[in-house]
């Protein structure tokens, strides 16, 4: 066995969130609550942005050949795709951290704990996205999940928050058990836990590889909130503090899809997939698209609606993943990977805005949809931001949501599973009903008498403004995406 040799600069993008997270936590206990309430979010946002810059500096030329960390013992693979996914996670986290001070205001939450755990869970997601070894994947997933479990229930005086945390904890641990059981089967059959090993023996033979890949898929599908493993999502999103719901909807899903995509590309290279695996993915995608969109139609609470919408979007994204696993599909997976990363960026931006508006307005705007009536008059900027993100979620031009959906569907239509794309397109038309319903409420209905106004903060306006501008800009000039990535 070759001995690993650590090149420290390569680990810099991952060390920054670790040091930042611990730093924020320790800063909080050594300073008074007032100053830590101001300094912790600033430090956390700066950490994410620094890590983002370091990521693109250190891994500037991975497009030619992916970087393996450590080189002799590759548990992490930074390809262009995983680098962009990590970048998306960091961008989303920076925006959500900017929105957080308003989101957790007046909720009796210690700043250091919130921002420290937030950064540590972002670190877990970053490492998870890059991991190509099953035990490493499990550890990173647990790092992300354990921090998130606490973040969901961090509002100690709120019973809903605690209930959501307990539900996610129990079900999430169960799903993790599936993942680790699948890893054990994988090891039993392939004699390695590495997904990129040269000595790969995972040939489809007998039932064991199906069990292994099936169990791993179930574990990941839970984290991605794919139907039929989605049942926790609406409850948990509704109970958690809104910026945390948004992190659940964006960060962990980006990481999960990145792992799934990288694993499938590698497994296909070793001829370890057949029609069965692809069918499983197609069925999951169809179930998510159909259940997500249909149940979203009857939701009355904003965060539950966004939860079902995110289930539907996971389904659309999975259609892109199907391309990677499709055996009949020839050629390089690069186009499909690009389509998926564009969609992930679009998905993150629009969810940041829609959860962000709810969290910036706060109070009753995090609850019933009917409270959004007449928002355009009282808060025109918030109404405009939410409208842009909802149009983008529907997938209409000129927004980045349209570009993402278009690329993913176009790629998926090249496979033999074109019927699944047809179903997804039909249901995505259906989704316009519940998305645009909110827009109609905001612009065409009158506000209730005596509803109190909400004070705005500059940080929220900046974060929402930047995300909204990106949604529109990248929708009008998608070429910028390829210049950026």
């Amino acid at each position: 066995m070759q001995m690993p040799h650590i090149i420290w600069p390569q680990w810099l993008p991952f060390l920054i969130p670790l040091i930042g997270g611990i730093g924020v936590l320790l800063f909080d206990v050594f300073s008074n609550p007032e100053s830590s309430r101001k300094a912790c979010p600033a430090g956390a946002v700066a950490t994410c942005l620094l890590a983002l810059i370091a990521l693109y500096k250190v891994f500037a030329d991975v497009a030619a050949a992916p970087a393996y960390l450590p080189a002799e013992y590759p548990v992490f693979m930074i390809s262009q795709f995983s680098r962009d996914c990590i970048g998306i996670i960091l961008l989303g986290a920076a925006l959500l951290l900017t929105l957080s001070p308003r989101g957790i205001a007046g909720k009796n939450i210690r700043a250091g704990e919130y921002y420290g755990l937030f950064l540590l869970s972002v670190l877990g997601m970053m490492l998870m996205a890059a991991s190509v070894e099953l035990l490493t994947l499990f550890i990173c997933l647990e790092l992300a999940s354990l921090s998130i479990y606490v973040l969901i229930g961090i509002e100690k005086s709120n019973a809903n928050s605690g209930e959501a945390a307990l539900k996610y904890f129990v079900l999430g641990s169960f799903a993790s058990a599936f993942l680790i059981f699948g890893a054990a089967f994988f090891y039993g059959h392939a004699r390695t836990t590495f997904l990129i090993s040269e000595s790969h023996q995972l040939v489809i033979q007998g039932i064991a590889p199906y069990i292994a890949l099936g169990l791993i898929l179930v574990g990941l599908a839970f984290k991605l909130a794919l139907a039929p493993f989605h049942l926790y999502a609406p409850e948990v999103y509704d109970g958690a503090p809104t910026p945390v719901s948004a992190l659940l909807a964006t960060g962990i899903k980006v990481a999960g899809f990145c792992v799934l995509a990288q694993a499938l590309v590698e497994l296909r290279r070793w001829d370890a997939l057949d029609q069965g695996a692809t069918w499983a993915l197609v069925l999951l995608a169809l179930a998510s698209v159909i259940i997500g969109n249909c149940v979203a139609l009857v939701q009355r609470r904003i965060k539950r609606l966004l939860a079902y919408s995110s289930i539907a979007h996971s389904g659309y994204l999975l259609l892109g993943i199907v391309v990677l696993s499709d055996v009949a599909q020839v050629g390089t997976p690069q186009l499909a990977l690009t389509a998926i990363s564009v969609y992930l960026l679009a998905y993150t931006l629009m969810n940041v805005v829609s959860f962000g508006v709810a969290s910036s307005l706060g109070g009753r705007f995090e609850e019933e949809l009917s409270n959004y009536a007449g928002l355009a008059k009282s808060h025109p900027f918030m109404a405009a931001a939410l409208t842009v993100s909802l149009i983008s979620l529907t997938g209409l031009p000129p927004t980045v949501g349209f570009i993402g959906k278009f690329y993913v569907f176009a790629e998926a239509a090249k496979t033999s599973y074109i019927f699944a794309v047809a179903v997804a397109v039909v249901f995505s038309v259906l989704s316009a009903f519940y998305y645009l319903n909110i827009v109609m409420k905001m612009y065409m209905q009158e506000q209730e008498e005596g509803a109190p106004g909400v004070e705005r903060t500059l940080a929220c306006d900046v974060a929402l403004g930047v995300s909204m501008a990106l949604i529109l800009l990248l929708g009008i000039a998608p070429g910028l995406l390829f210049w950026m990535m």
Partner: protein, 124 residues
């Protein structure tokens, strides 16, 4: 290929069948009653007396157990690390492995400082 696991499968199937039969029989044949004596806490057939009715543990014991677990895990890792250190040094990995452990202990110490500043060690 799965022959060795056959016995596990048989056990599983039989235990499921047996458990369901027993549960269904108990439901079907047995009858249920509920009275005040039945809902008392059981204490060797006697009526519970004195303090036993309202035993409560202070949540501080829980905190202590939690802190103990952290250092327990640390000991576990450090012991194995110390045992393997000589061999790893011969392989030329001394510096790497040493700093890895310092890093690990550093992260734990950060947690320790956090608990100390939050008053986790104050009993009152």
């Amino acid at each position: 290929m799965f022959a060795p696991y056959l016995s596990i499968l048989v056990t599983l199937v039989f235990s499921i069948i047996l458990a369901s039969i027993l549960l269904i029989l108990a439901r079907w044949v047995g009858w249920r009653s509920s009275n005040s004596v039945k809902s008392l806490p059981f204490e060797c057939g006697n009526l519970p007396s004195g303090e036993a009715q309202k035993v409560q543990f202070s949540v501080k014991f829980y905190m202590t157990a939690l802190l103990f677990l952290i250092f327990d895990m640390e000991t576990l890792f450090v012991l194995l690390w110390a045992a393997a250190f000589q061999r790893l040094m011969e392989l030329g990995l001394g510096a790497l492995v040493f700093w890895e452990m310092m890093f690990f202990i550093g992260v734990l110490i950060a947690g320790y400082i956090y608990v100390w500043r939050r008053g986790g060690f104050e009993w009152n």
